[in-house]
């Protein structure tokens, strides 16, 4: 009797599910029509970390991206372009699976992301095969553009610009004579640290590597080596999670030098871990302009929508989304057309002007690198623009 009952209930449940799914399909069909406008009914995707150890960097980007789409939809009708979010957790081992589920959605014709270099290496081949154009607002490993992906576009300068800029800051502004270089062995961190090392040459007294982001908490060996090397500056190629802990343990051990890093460390998460006081003076380079320099009403709009100030690359992600949206508006509603459009685009956004080389790199004349410094607010604020020649 009980078995019969269970089967009956199960059967009803299955019928219910099917009916529900059918109803959903009908709904989405209806909204396509409701969207009205001729170039509507498509999706733009964000692909990147929404959770995981470096999630703040991904969330900054996703929010800038989503804001752009929302503003566009306000002009074009409520759900002209739909936002699809794919959480890669910023992890190269998670990214391929998530990327496959992204390319399975045929309505997605453009991707903002992936934000990190490691996940880019893992996911971009899949996007390339599917032919979906990508614009990364933040993955800076140089070799990404040399992989032959036709869909790859980078809206910021790569580490070939950021690394030398960091090195010239250490040499010319800090005037450090002894520099310790360490990295987290990520595609991004190691790439950046290697460029810095080669540019600094004999100024580098010693180097070390740490385990990956969030995988190591006891850095006492690194701290000891930095102290005994007599270095007055430590360049760390890695993300803010490890960097905050390293900064804290360096300070606790009494090291008075300056910690420097790239854009992956440009997040208040660093000072939240280390304590604001310990973080003060930490310098990060970024191939981006200060967020407050973004044109238009972006800074206020962002704050109004998300209730936080725009973060690192929020503005670039906003621009990247708008580049896609402008293309879609002009009738480039297939992935092929959109990709061709990107090869000739010359778009003036709020953070920069964008023009891509045939490899998908930002046109060299448009590259900017800034140095930012953590201050008593616990965030990295603009210090100075670094000349890149």
């Amino acid at each position: 009797m009980r078995q019969v009952l269970a089967r009956a209930i199960g059967g009803v449940a299955i019928i219910g599910l099917i009916a529900g799914a059918a109803a959903c399909n009908k709904d989405s069909g209806g909204s396509d029509n409701a969207a009205g406008g001729s170039n509507c009914g498509y999706k733009l995707a964000f692909f990147g970390a929404l959770t995981g150890s470096a999630a703040n960097l991904g969330v900054n980007i996703e929010q800038g991206f989503e804001l752009a789409v929302e503003q566009y939809n306000k002009q074009k009708g409520s759900d002209c372009i739909t936002v699809a979010k794919f959480d890669s957790q910023g992890a190269a081992e998670v990214a391929p699976g998530v990327a496959r589920s992204l390319v399975a959605d045929k309505k997605i014709i453009g991707i903002v992301g992936p934000p990190f270099s490691g996940e880019s290496e893992a996911a971009n081949p899949i996007f390339d095969e599917a032919g979906i154009p990508t614009i990364t607002p933040s993955a800076t490993r140089t070799s990404l553009s040399a992989s032959g992906w036709k869909v790859f576009h980078r809206a910021v300068a790569n580490d070939d610009a950021q690394g030398p800029a960091a090195a010239s800051y250490i040499k010319d502004v800090l005037k450090a004579q002894k520099v310790f270089v360490a990295d987290d062995q990520s595609a991004y961190g190691q790439g950046l640290a290697d460029v810095v090392k080669s540019k600094l040459g004999p100024l580098v007294v010693q180097s070390d590597k740490t385990e990956g982001d969030g995988k190591q908490t006891d850095f006492s060996a690194l701290v000891q080596k930095v102290q005994s090397s007599g270095a007055t500056a430590l360049f760390y190629g890695g993300y803010y999670t490890n960097a905050g802990v390293i900064r804290k343990q360096l300070t606790a051990a009494g090291w008075k030098g300056t910690l420097l890093g790239g854009d992956g460390m440009k997040d208040p998460g660093l000072s939240k871990a280390s304590g604001t006081q310990a973080a003060i003076g930490t310098v990060v380079t970024c191939p981006c302009s200060p967020p407050e320099a973004a044109g238009g009403t972006f800074v206020n709009d962002y704050k109004a929508k998300w209730n936080v100030a725009a973060g690192t690359y929020s503005d670039v992600a906003f621009d990247a989304a708008n580049i896609f949206l402008q293309g879609i508006d002009a009738g480039n509603t297939t992935t092929e057309k959109l990709n061709t459009y990107l090869s000739t685009v010359n778009y003036k956004g709020i953070a920069n002007t964008y023009k891509f080389t045939d490899k998908g790199e930002l046109d060299p004349s448009l590259i900017k690198v800034w140095a930012f410094k953590f201050d008593a607010s616990g965030d990295a604020v603009k210090d100075q623009e670094i000349k890149t020649s």
Binding site: K209, A221, G254, A273, G275
Partner: protein, 316 residues
């Protein structure tokens, strides 16, 4: 390989490794105690430690302390330390008892096979860690500067700080107290009896359930102390802190001989020092790999760990 990295920094790396090892040792006691009595690896022990790292932070937070606070003066420091330790011990102990009650006792009543215990242990571990992860948005939480590390002893280029001495001394004292408790007290005799032969112990009138609860509680207390030391040494905690250090602690327990209290201390200190040396010699990224290779080598020659497994047998 960077021989000068190890040789030049030999003293400081050893001391740093001993401090890290002392924390690992206190943490490892929980694994070893439970294993000694139940022949069961309590994988949820890593989360018993984790909640301890948060418990003291929350208590300190009630007093307005966060990672940006100024350092308290000596009297206040003692007060905060006592409060933090009590909070961590109480919370860790409670969670350890709770895990035993929810994840293990019902299975034991039904004579579940050992694999079932393993699964509930891993389940409890993941559930607690994920709960903390969701509640904290998986962010790191900075520790207030309760104790400022200050060099108090200098030998050559080795500067030993007050914090390192505190951590190592506390681990040794706790180990001594626990050792005396297990080997000298009436309750300890009960624990040893159950460890040797649960059925005979029950026949002799030992309350097995109570002994098991006691063992979990003791492990929780030690993990609570380890958690406070971890917070002070590392300076941040995160929802996966227990998992990362838990592997080290479990390894230390096996290295010393799981089920053996003194083995846990030896294994912890040894593992800490080995990791520190490995980080000096090969680079910090080799910290875990090198230490574990050595673990395999040691276990090849001493399969039951350096001191062998014996909670009850030795000096009964």
């Amino acid at each position: 390989m960077n021989f000068s990295g190890l040789i030049d920094n030999f003293g400081p790396l050893t001391v740093a490794g001993l401090a890290q090892g002392a924390i690992i040792a206190l943490f490892a006691l929980g694994y070893t105690l439970v294993y000694g009595v139940l022949r069961l690896i309590n994988f949820a022990h890593s989360e018993v430690f984790l909640v301890g790292t948060y418990a003291c932070l929350i208590i300190w937070g009630w007093f307005g302390l966060d990672q940006n606070s100024a350092r308290p003066d000596f009297g206040a420091m003692l007060g905060y330390m006592a409060l933090g330790l009590v909070a961590a011990i109480v919370v860790s102990g409670t969670v350890a008892l709770g895990v035993e009650l929810v994840a293990y006792r019902p299975l034991r009543r039904r004579n579940a096979p050992p694999l079932a215990f393993l699964i509930t242990a891993i389940g409890a571990s993941l559930a607690i860690s994920e709960f903390v992860g969701v509640a904290t948005h998986r962010n790191q939480r900075g520790v207030p500067p309760i104790i400022q590390a200050r060099t108090v002893i200098t030998i050559g280029n080795t500067h030993i700080t007050n914090l390192q001495i505190l951590i190592i001394a506390l681990a040794l004292v706790m180990m001594f107290v626990l050792d005396r408790f297990i080997n000298g007290s009436r309750l300890g005799r009960g624990i040893r009896a159950v460890a040797q032969n649960p059925d005979s112990a029950a026949l002799m009138g030992v309350n097995k359930s109570r002994v098991i609860s006691l063992v979990f509680l003791l492990g929780g207390l030690m993990a609570g102390i380890a958690a406070v030391m971890y917070d002070l040494k590392i300076g941040v905690t995160k929802y996966d802190a227990g998992f990362l250090l838990g592997i080290d602690a479990f390894t230390a327990a096996v290295l010393g001989g799981i089920g053996n209290l003194r083995g846990a201390l030896l294994g912890g200190l040894l593992l800490g020092v080995l990791q520190s040396w490995a980080a000096g010699l090969f680079g910090s990224n080799w910290l875990h790999a090198a230490a574990f290779v050595l673990l395999v080598l040691i276990l090849m020659f001493r399969p039951s760990g350096l001191l062998g497994e014996s909670l009850g047998r030795a000096r009964a």
